[in-house]
């Protein structure tokens, strides 16, 4: 799942997948800003077939939290 998330991040952030670090986080990675965050959420929803609530969206600020959220949904 982590590799899938990183693959989606690479597309949304327009960077190479290999350049995304394990500790990638909102506001730390230069491309992960508020606009890209919502684009990322939409792409994650589409890829994994889930829907996130606003409360979840605001907590999904690093890859571990995204994995946790997706795990709970699955």
């Amino acid at each position: 799942m982590r590799e899938d998330i990183k693959k989606i991040m690479a597309v949304v952030f327009s960077v190479e997948q290999g350049s995304i670090p394990e500790d990638v986080a909102y506001g730390i990675h230069e491309k992960w800003d508020s606009i890209h965050h919502l684009n990322l959420i939409v792409e994650l929803e589409s890829y994994f077939g889930v829907l996130f609530e606003p409360e979840e969206i605001q907590t999904m600020t690093n890859i571990d939290r995204i994995v946790d959220c997706l795990t709970l949904k699955k």
Partner: protein, 316 residues
């Protein structure tokens, strides 16, 4: 960062100055505080509601404004708020919740004075409104155009301006002058358009076209080198009047404009206006909204019920 909600009346001179400065920085425009003093002086309440974000030095680093207007909703008067001028200085965009904090403060400040909120966000902000704030999509606006100088619009067409000019000339001359075809299109949701509103909305930057009880307003802006005549509002909302307005703008301005544009919904285009296909639109414009009152029902989320154009949301 700290957040605050204020009405326009509570804004200080320093606030206006900082709002103007922030706007110019974020949108690369040249405005002064007087522009905002007028713009935020709602013709309905006399003031607007502002959600403000202050940096550690106590200066405004982000803002959103809700300007109240009066609308008719299926023959009932309702108070709407148009969300505009959402801006955050690029140094302060790390906090994903900044917009929500500003928005919450503006709404809290408005108390129970508004029934419905609407906005036409840019494509980047659209997801924030719909996905995060849970506003509902009402519908997409259409572009209607008449191209006078196609070389300015489409690269590689430099030798074809004579053709677009000839086409404009021909189409405008096909517009009937008479009102035989006058059949007003009526929609149950529209802004209350009285003298006070028009005095507020259409300043010296707008030209007026009138003919007995009919009127229209347009403005000419240079959009990245393209001299664009925007039809901002027209009344009555008829195919024949729209055609006549386009023809009159063409006659008056043809030597210094490249294109005439009307942005809105539900217009049955006259012969001298072409509706732009979705895939060719310069950017998609969605009307989104959020109800705050039991006076509002789901009919408000149907674009077919609205008479909506640039005058409703673009306050330039």
């Amino acid at each position: 960062m700290t957040y605050s909600g204020k009405t326009t009346i509570e804004l200080s001179e320093k606030d206006f100055s900082e709002l103007s400065g922030l706007f110019n920085t974020v949108f690369n425009r040249k405005t002064d505080p007087a522009y905002f003093i007028h713009k935020y002086h709602s013709p309905y309440l006399g003031y607007s509601f502002h959600g403000l974000m202050y940096n550690d030095e106590g200066n405004i680093a982000g803002a959103i404004t809700i300007i109240p207007f009066s609308y008719s909703f299926f023959e009932n008067q309702i108070a709407t708020g148009c969300a505009v001028d959402l801006m955050i200085h690029e140094n302060y965009r790390k906090d994903f919740l900044s917009l929500k904090h500003m928005y919450d403060h503006a709404i809290e400040k408005s108390g129970s004075s508004l029934d419905f909120l609407y906005a036409v966000p840019n494509p980047n902000a659209y997801l924030y409104w719909t996905k995060f704030l849970k506003w509902r999509d009402i519908g997409q606006l259409n572009y209607y155009i008449q191209v006078l100088n196609i070389s300015k619009i489409k690269a590689g067409f430099s030798g074809f301006d004579w053709m677009s000019k000839a086409f404009s000339f021909f189409m405008n001359n096909l517009v009937l002058k008479s009102d035989v075809l006058r059949k007003e299109q009526e929609y149950p949701i529209f802004k209350m358009n009285n003298e006070t509103y028009r005095k507020y909305r259409f300043n010296k930057n707008y030209a007026e076209i009138t003919e007995s009880d009919k009127y229209a307003y347009y403005t000419i802006l240079n959009e990245m080198g393209i001299n664009t005549a925007y039809i901002v509002d027209l009344h009555p909302f008829t195919k024949s009047w729209a055609g006549s307005v386009v023809k009159q703008i063409y006659t008056l301005e043809k030597n210094h404009i490249d294109i005439i544009i009307y942005i809105g919904n539900n217009l049955k285009p006259p012969i001298n206006l072409i509706r732009v296909p979705r895939k060719l639109e310069p950017r998609s414009l969605h009307l989104v909204g959020h109800s705050l009152s039991e006076k509002i029902d789901d009919r408000i989320y149907n674009m077919d019920n609205w008479l909506f154009n640039l005058s409703d949301f673009d306050a330039r």
